[in-house]
Symmetry: C2
């Protein structure tokens, strides 16, 4: 093992250079104007894997972004390990908010900044480093699967797994797309909370009404929706939906001051929920409202709004029992409709 650690240190400079080259490719699949960059990124990943010694490397797609599959056969009797990463990145957003250019990897205080330096081109680099440290001859079979649309919700992942089922078969899967506990403590993530995505729509009136003439008698959809959403948490910020599964998190300490700093809580704002921080982060259910469709403030008028929608993210088991679909609890409003989609991927 010491030999491997020494070898990893030896290959690190070349792997870092490769990572920086990947970061310079603007592989934003969500931006239609940069889809050629995603293809260029897949080709770069393919070349890196071939150069590292994988004999069987292919770029594949199933109607979505290009993915790279590379395979190194297992020695007789040895298991096969599947290494996952993704080569696409999130849009960079407002470039003026970056301290250094998003697609120019920049070292500051011993860390490398740039879009994809961590999520998830570092995952590709990690797999490369492992393969190179074994001089292209690891004691196990290795399949590498690097997809190109993870940041867009992996819409064609299912089709790709079905189409390449046999090639992707493995005894162990290592997903290089999660966190370390801290920069000083390398960590393995062994489970993640699931994800349910719900859209709830509330309709109360068949048309908008003058708020001065009808306020206090006719229910508006926004206030009704707000009351539904407020029922998702108790006063301490714990999820108030009954029947959800709670697991047990590892017994490690996450100091409150680190929460405040890492999450960026504003002065005077407290954490939500009760129990240990890691229990809340990793094992208890959580529900977040991530979007609302209603009149924006700039175009608001004196109108009781007849229809409004909200989208929430929740642990997988939460969605079906959302209080939103029980009209009895909000001034007995109906019709309240709910639609949900579920994905089996980490949230």
């Amino acid at each position: 093992m010491t030999d491997v650690a020494a070898r990893v240190r030896e290959v690190l400079p070349s792997v870092r250079a490769d990572l920086e080259a990947l970061v310079r490719i603007e592989s934003v699949w969500a931006d239609p104007a940069r889809r050629d960059e995603v293809r260029r990124s897949a080709e770069a990943v393919s070349k890196l894997l071939s150069d590292a010694g994988f004999g069987d490397v292919r770029i594949v797609s199933e109607g979505g972004a290009p993915a790279v599959i590379a395979h190194h056969p297992a020695p007789p009797g040895a298991p096969t390990v599947l290494l996952y990463a993704h080569h696409d990145v999130q849009p960079e957003g407002d470039r003026t908010q970056w301290h250094s250019p998003p697609f120019e990897p920049t070292e500051r205080d011993g860390r490398l900044y740039g879009r994809g330096t961590a999520d998830d081109k570092a995952g590709i680099a990690t797999h490369l480093a492992a393969f190179r440290a074994h001089d292209g001859n690891p004691p196990v079979g290795v399949t590498v699967f690097v997809e190109g649309e993870e940041e867009s919700g992996s819409p064609s992942l299912g089709a790709m797994l079905a189409a390449h089922r046999d090639e992707l078969a493995a005894d162990v899967i290592v997903i290089a797309d999660s966190d370390n506990w801290s920069p000083d403590l390398p960590s393995l993530t062994v489970s993640l909370r699931g994800l349910a995505d719900c859209v709830v729509e509330v309709s109360t009136l068949d048309h908008g009404l003058h708020s001065g003439m009808w306020g206090g008698v006719a229910p508006d959809a926004v206030t009704a929706l707000v009351r539904l959403l407020a029922s998702l948490h108790d006063d301490d910020g714990n999820v108030a939906v009954a029947g959800l599964h709670e697991a047990s998190a590892a017994d490690v300490d996450f100091p409150a001051e680190r929460v405040r700093r890492d999450a960026g809580l504003l002065d005077g704002v407290r954490e939500i929920g009760s129990g240990s921080v890691v229990q809340r982060l990793w094992a208890k259910p959580a529900i977040t409202v991530i979007g609302i469709d209603t009149t924006p403030i700039a175009s608001a008028s004196n109108t009781l709004i007849p229809r409004a929608r909200a989208r929430g993210r929740a642990p997988r088991s939460a969605c079906a029992s959302l209080p939103a679909v029980t009209p009895a609890n909000t001034w007995r409003l109906s019709p309240v409709t709910s639609s949900s989609t579920r994905r089996g991927v980490p949230g």
Copy 2:
């Protein structure tokens, strides 16, 4: 009095023709492309008042829409009555939703339809009818004030009142911009609920966070805002803000079935609030959320939203004591900021 009633009937056809001519002018001040139409409308009103016998008629403005001021001096010892109306109209919205063209007055079932046939070119017609019924010589002084930006919130009304204070002085003011109790029962509105307009902003984090990684510990602004807004009403839909003024409404009956029909409540949706319908409509406080600024559903991602805003309309006395500005009640969130504007006009 019978003579006046007979005279009103005599002048009605000419007044209706004048009303129809006014409705054909697209005086939508909110639409910059139609501001010349608003000027044309002011000129038409001015001419109608001059032709009716007002000797002193002027079009004035204070940086906003043109208004018309007309004056007929009081006989010695008689009081002066100020008659208010407005000649601008709301935008017509989606024309496919109209049963007849918005700017072509159309009679159906004994009622006249078209933008401004009621609100508020009918008010101008009413004043004209009264003046004509007295053959231009009423027993009181009459000042007519017809503004052109009521539907835009009358932003220059204050400046206009200040600039024309002496000309607008009156013993009695009649505002022809409200409802009759029913088509069969002419009514006087003697008071209206006031209006306060509030914008409340909640910030919890200094940047967006991954909802899967931080949900359950870091508070998002939308859920916090939703909890603030939900605290504005009790479970029966009554306003839950303490210390608001409640007046006494007239003792008339507003049947529940008429509420359902006139307001367009969907099947299964109940009225909100308790007490008689007219008490709730006219005398109790009401608060309505008329707009929210946050991520719309289509662009929502797995993000804890750090900042969100809501705009509400409330009785005048409600705003200062909105629970929103008391951070203690929502997971002790702060900073919560609130800004409000108040107008002294009917809501």
